[in-house]
Symmetry: C2
Subunit: 195 residues, 2 copies
Amino acid sequence: MFLYTKNFDEQKAKAMEGLRKALAENKVDEDIIPLLEKLNALENYFTTSSCSGRISVMEMPHFGDKVNSVWLGKWHREVNVGEVFDAIERHSSGQLWFLVRSPILHVGARTMEDAVRLLNLAIGLGFKYSNIKSVSHRKLLVEIRSTERMDVPLGEDGELWVSEDYIERIVAIANDQLRRFKGKLKRLEEEIGKL
Amino acid sequence: MFLYTKNFDEQKAKAMEGLRKALAENKVDEDIIPLLEKLNALENYFTTSSCSGRISVMEMPHFGDKVNSVWLGKWHREVNVGEVFDAIERHSSGQLWFLVRSPILHVGARTMEDAVRLLNLAIGLGFKYSNIKSVSHRKLLVEIRSTERMDVPLGEDGELWVSEDYIERIVAIANDQLRRFKGKLKRLEEEIGKL
């Protein structure tokens, strides 16, 4: 069975090249970079993709249709209500949603033992939805994920279903969630050396 | 490393006793029972907990505080707006949320190979958030989970932030999501014998 990743070092080298390119193109969320660097400095892990968590306003033909979704606004930090209103004003058709997504990191591990050690550290630091996403001799992939999330329908086909007051309320809740998961990311960054 | 579950048959016997008890007390969602029976008939798997997916109205001191949360309404089927209004009327304090949760099944596997086979079947049938939840010699646990979800704040401390129209809209979307994940459960039930 799949106890370890074949060609781990080759895969890591390739992933690191991809990361360097993404960094050069400013495609990596800034506040997650120190954590990525610490993780990649460990010899038994490498990161393949990451998001530091976000608040967004999205337009989609119907829920779950990622391909045809359009972000009208996307922030990896606290937002103010004005920014959210501006995004909502760009809405024209399809379902309009206000979303919060917790951080996600995908991390390749050299052995199943390494994968489990990272998994347990992450769960212990509050990333309770962390798990082993795929298992094969080509890949042992740990997913680090937290529980914060919002999925709020706001309107459809140009029509808004909620009041400005309501949007103020949900922005406050979203910022609460964001502060919470950013705190968890910070703790993970501090503790990751323990692996 | 953890290639197989120690004392698998003992653990399965214990889990099956728990399931029989839960069934006798009507604590198992009815529409998931055939799937549980098919899974447990396989010699390399046993179910430890399950939910067939639900729509609910919940009151909680703040988001994520599960301990102090109270369900004002909970349904494992399509709901009508009247039922949701009735639940909302029971709200008195804390944050009020309208929630959709996709089905979750936790399944013990005899070996890592069995775990991965089930994981890949589930992902292929649309349960895209499926993963391996824990890995130890005491437990190889597969989590089967889908993507449908809603987390909509409705009000706080007795005050409602949204209109009746809005609630009608989100109930329609929730029922859409419910039909979708019930369909996936049905397909999983049909395909599970392939393991």
